[in-house]
Symmetry: C2
Subunit: 232 residues, 2 copies
């Protein structure tokens, strides 16, 4: 974990060159910005090399990067912990017609409560959230918000794209309604997954591109015409 | 130009492998999405490889990619042509507190009106918009909008970051007010330039990072405290 190891990473960095490799772009995570700030405090010069990132590679869905709003993260819900701050961010994006990229939770080096309580450094197998899990959690929150009179940001028929292993040789996209995406994990296959919720400002060219991946092209066209087309 | 050469690019692509190299991510531009759509129509299989892009590399400013709204483009104004659609997009981003990445115009293979009229294939030297030119055009439009009673999206004291040659060895950032950035071209140096206008939802960690590049740190701090800090 970078958070806890930054002292270790920066130790001796005044005297020797230290390289730090990350998955994706080095500035995709706040943690890495923090590492640079610490280096600055210690007067350690740094330089960074940009890399492909899901933030830009998601353009391979055919949705235009220009039309994305803020990116949100989705964490694994538990029975008692269902953080829903993503919902208000999606509301903001959708209020101005933009797409939302949803980045999905990754759990590595996770301890069970029992092992944690007993101080046993035994870790659970890694877990990667799937598009299906994400779509279900999104609809669960929509249901709760609706009951509280604060819903309506999206619904079961909102159009979205599920993406798996973007940039890899086995890259795979599935598009459809959020309800359809709840069942799309088998088609999408192995991790890592991401999801994009379409904004109403979707251009026709974008829809043409994305419908190619549709679970059901007829349903896609019907909802596209009803809820998106010409809704600039 | 890809637009006019796509038939040429795709000719024979059913029979031989054709590679198409671009600057940045292949899906950063609508044109490339269009090329894939044409390939699909001709049943030509394609695969793409993601790359670093200004859309994600701009994280090197220290501004969090999560906090960016839609990206806008700024073209070179002429006396009679000052397209201002970027202004409404920035208004939308700022209404929900987000940063805006402004991508700056590049003019290559440009013909003078005279040469075009005479059918002479003589091209002007390439032109790359600078951060200073962009900041000036932004303030010009703000002035016009204000006169029309539709202004107030940003002003001379709005905080922004100018970026030059992002990802290159001579990468350079300058932060300050839009007014200050009008004069920052000399410090920024050679092209390519980009500009980011800060949203009010800027996190303190982001400001800490960016103020390091400030033309005038005291002024930065004063405006930060007055207009941004705690304005979530």
């Amino acid at each position: 974990m970078v958070e806890s190891a930054s002292d270790e990473i920066l130790r001796d960095a005044q005297n020797v060159d230290v390289a730090f490799l990350v998955v994706g772009d080095p500035f995709g995570a706040t943690t890495h910005t923090d590492l640079v700030l610490r280096a600055r405090e210690l007067s350690i010069p740094i330089s960074s090399i940009p890399n492909a990132s899901i933030m830009s590679a998601i353009g391979a869905t055919g949705l235009q990067l220009y039309n994305f709003g803020q990116t949100v993260s989705m964490v694994f819900f538990t029975d008692s912990w269902k953080p829903a701050s993503f919902y208000d961010r999606i509301r903001e994006n959708r209020s101005i017609g933009l797409h939302t990229l949803v980045l999905l939770d990754i759990k590595v080096k996770e301890q069970s409560l029992e092992n944690m309580a007993r101080g046993r450094k035994v870790y659970e197998p890694p877990r990667y959230m799937t598009v299906g899990q994400c779509a279900e959690q999104m609809l669960e929150i929509e249901g709760m918000k609706k009951e509280a009179g604060e819903g309506g940001v999206y619904n079961e028929e909102s159009l979205a794209v599920g993406a798996a292993r973007v940039g890899g040789r086995s890259e795979k996209f599935v598009s459809g309604t959020l309800k359809q995406l709840c069942e799309a994990d088998e088609v999408l296959g192995e991790p890592l997954h991401s999801l994009v919720l379409l904004g109403r400002r979707t251009h026709e060219l974008e829809s043409d591109y994305v419908r190619e991946f549709a679970v059901d092209k007829e349903l896609w066209d019907r909802i596209w015409k009803r809820d998106y087309e010409g809704k600039q």
